[in-house]
């Protein structure tokens, strides 16, 4: 059985934990200047439309009582290490997705055993960090993730073997992995609005809507998901991406997102015991044109500042000239084992 774990409103929850006066209030974690974007919003802020990547000034317009707290990356990393150590003590395999999110393979066991293990982990995380973590338990990764999303915050949802298709059927079609907003809009026009609709397609219809990917996507929609939790796979690249709720034009805001992504990628490099020789930035414009820029480093690094500097260089070279951007991602590749050996005086 497989579980997906995700800390609830991670950055915001840390702020509330450390300042109980914030409890029950709308809180957003964001940089301090007016052009910052929201990194995480507490559940109290979400009904106002405050979501991650929303420009802070718009968040403040939507929710004038919003309490803005600056991020403390080092604290998040420490908590992440603690949480992953708890995962490691209970798991056959862990596939980390970000600082606060992972798939865990419990190995061969019953739904009941897996659910109780997941609850144990939730309790241990709460004890150790004071944070709530939601979990989805299922036979496959996609269903586990959808389940944990569906039971947030502080939830545990297990989907019994055999119930997958029924669980997925009412979900919007955009929840299937690989179906982005553009495909979703196209499918909805064709009357395919739920995952159940995809599961019911015959071969010809599936092929017409999904091409060579038809069998895979229909299997996923029917709850068949055999992809393993890959903890020991050789990492070829590490990346972090963010799709914005609203298109972003200001390069300074993109730079701020890259800063957070560089910290996250550097943390993953350290956790995996790797260093990177190349850094790239992926930009998807509002018109869905995608640009990639990458640059090679003379010496491998896992230093967030070096990664950010290279990413900002890539961003400048993409020469966006204020074009609206819907997604930005940072990727490091050409990975070598270990920490960098070459010392430097700069």
């Amino acid at each position: 059985m497989i579980a997906h774990f995700d800390i609830d409103a991670f950055y915001a929850s840390v702020a509330i934990r450390d300042d109980p006066a914030l409890r029950g209030k709308p809180v957003a974690v964001a940089g301090s200047h007016r052009r910052s974007v929201v990194l995480t919003a507490s559940y109290e802020a979400r009904p106002f439309g405050v979501r991650s990547a929303l420009p802070l000034y718009r968040a403040l317009e939507a929710c004038p009582n919003l309490i803005v707290v600056p991020p403390t990356m080092s604290k998040y990393k420490d908590i992440s290490r603690e949480v992953f150590a708890i995962f490691a003590s209970r798991a056959h395999a862990i596939e980390g997705l970000s600082l606060d999110e992972a798939f865990i393979d419990f190995g061969p066991c019953s739904l009941g055993e897996a659910t109780s293990l997941a609850q144990t982990i939730r309790d241990e995380v709460l004890d150790a960090t004071g944070l709530t973590i939601s979990a989805g338990v299922a036979t496959g990764k996609m269903i586990a993730k959808i389940a944990s999303d569906a039971c947030k915050p502080n939830g545990l949802l297990a989907v019994a073997p055999g119930d997958e298709a029924a669980f997925l059927a009412p979900m919007p079609v955009g929840r299937i992995w690989g179906v982005g907003p553009k495909s979703q809009a196209r499918l909805e026009l064709a009357g395919i609005t739920t995952i159940g609709h995809v599961a019911a397609l015959d071969d010809a219809q599936a092929y017409r809507h999904f091409g060579s990917w038809a069998n895979q996507v229909r299997a996923l929609a029917r709850g068949i998901d055999n992809r393993p939790v890959e903890s020991d796979r050789e990492t070829k690249s590490i990346s972090s991406e963010e799709t914005f709720e609203y298109d972003v034009r200001e390069e300074r805001r993109l730079a701020e997102v890259l800063r957070a992504q560089a910290a996250e990628v550097a943390e993953k490099l350290e956790r995996e015991g790797l260093s990177a020789c190349s850094v790239g930035v992926k930009i998807k414009r509002a018109d869905f044109r995608t640009h990639g820029r990458q640059t090679h480093l003379a010496e491998p690094t896992r230093d967030a500042r070096r990664i950010l500097k290279a990413a900002l260089y890539c961003l400048r070279r993409a020469d966006l000239q204020g074009a609206p951007v819907r997604l930005i991602g940072l990727r490091v590749a050409s990975l070598v084992p270990g920490e960098p050996l070459q010392t430097s005086f700069l």
Binding site: A298, P340, L341, S344, F345
Partner: protein, 371 residues
């Protein structure tokens, strides 16, 4: 415009200029070289807006004027001529070339669209022997950063002037190269210029080493530097920024040293590097009992062991370097013997020739690897 000239001379001038042209430029006129016929000479010019190279040669001019021709195309054409005389007839849209029994028409772009040379006021000015300047350039620029993401400052080479002294410094943070020399005609006071290293490479390639090279700062803010010798001028936009304080990097004192035969050392390092694997090309140097032991190993290739007799002073030491960086430094040392000074396994090491070259004083600093 119309002129006739020696084929070899125009081929050399256009060939040199075409190296400056940026193959990826999106401005069509910058793909071209400008040929200006005036006062018995043809001046060939190319620019990428940062670096401009101009070289003139003698010709029989029947009608003065200018033409611009696609650099790569024209230079390849000229390079394939057998020799003899060439006649060129230029208009704003066409360059017609006759040589022996071949006739070519090249599409041209209007010469008045070509970026003009900076007509800037001259600032500080100095002269230096061509051989010394070339020695300094060759000894330093290889250590500059090639990583564009780290910025133009580290990709440049620092020229620090004080009276009659010129110090050239290049570094990427992992190694540092320094060359100190004297000027023929110095400046009053001090100046610091960060020059794009590729401009210095062009200067070393194109300026006659037998001649005296005159160097002038241009522009009200001294934001350009022009190297001039004979019929060749190279003008480059200087890098705006603060160069790292390199003097802090060079330890004032060392407590250990070894003196080694340069060629033998390079040979051992090159062999050891072969098995060092791709992880930082690590070679370990162990100095003890007047002997240097070089080792390297990797799971894939095996183990290397090399022994060299050295002159050792101070305590024993084991230190690791990237063999590639070390060999690159040693390749720029012409002295038969090289001295390396140390402070400890994680401190910068200084490398210098025992016999300094005629033109100046060479010094390298290399950062070690963590073992």
């Amino acid at each position: 415009m119309k002129f006739t000239c020696n084929t070899k001379e125009i081929a050399a001038a256009v060939g040199a200029a075409s190296k400056v042209v940026n193959a990826h430029t999106t401005v069509p006129i910058l793909s071209n070289v400008l040929l200006q016929a005036e006062d018995g000479k043809i001046a060939v010019r190319a620019t990428d807006l940062e670096l401009t190279l101009e070289h003139a040669f003698a010709a029989d001019i029947t009608e003065p004027g200018s033409v611009t021709v696609p650099a790569k195309l024209f230079s390849s054409y000229l390079g394939n001529l057998q020799g003899g005389r060439l006649e060129l007839n230029g208009t704003p849209t066409r360059a017609s070339v006759k040589c022996e029994r071949s006739n070519y028409d090249f599409h041209a772009l209007p010469p008045d669209e070509y970026p003009p040379l900076p007509q800037a006021t001259k600032g500080s000015h100095f002269t230096i022997g061509g051989k010394r300047l070339r020695e300094g350039i060759e000894a330093t620029i290889f250590a500059a950063s090639s990583e564009e993401a780290r910025g133009a400052v580290l990709m440049g080479t620092l020229l620090e002037l004080e009276g009659n002294s010129l110090t050239m410094v290049a570094t990427d943070g992992y190694r540092l190269a320094k060359f100190q020399t004297t000027l023929d005609d110095g400046i009053t006071g001090t100046e610091k210029y960060i020059v794009p290293s590729r401009a210095l490479a062009e200067a070393a390639r194109n300026l006659g080493s037998g001649e005296v090279i005159s160097v002038s700062a241009l522009g009200a803010q001294s934001n350009q530097l022009q190297f001039h010798s004979g019929d060749t001028a190279i003008t480059v936009r200087l890098v705006d920024g603060q160069y790292p304080n390199y003097q802090q990097v060079i330890p004032p004192k060392f407590d250990r040293s070894l003196t080694v035969n340069t060629a033998a050392f390079i040979g051992s390092l090159r062999r050891a590097e072969l098995v060092a694997g791709d992880r930082a090309s690590m070679v370990k140097l162990a100095v003890s009992n007047q002997t240097l032991i070089i080792t390297a190993s990797s799971d894939i290739s095996g183990n290397a062991y090399e022994e060299l007799e050295v002159e050792q002073t101070g305590e024993d030491l084991t230190i690791a370097f990237n063999a590639r960086y070390l060999v690159e430094v040693l390749n720029h040392i012409k002295s038969a013997q090289t001295v390396i000074e140390f402070l400890g396994p994680l401190s910068p090491a200084a490398i210098r020739p025992v016999e300094q070259p005629e033109g100046g004083q060479q010094l390298y600093v290399l950062m070690p690897l963590r073992q």
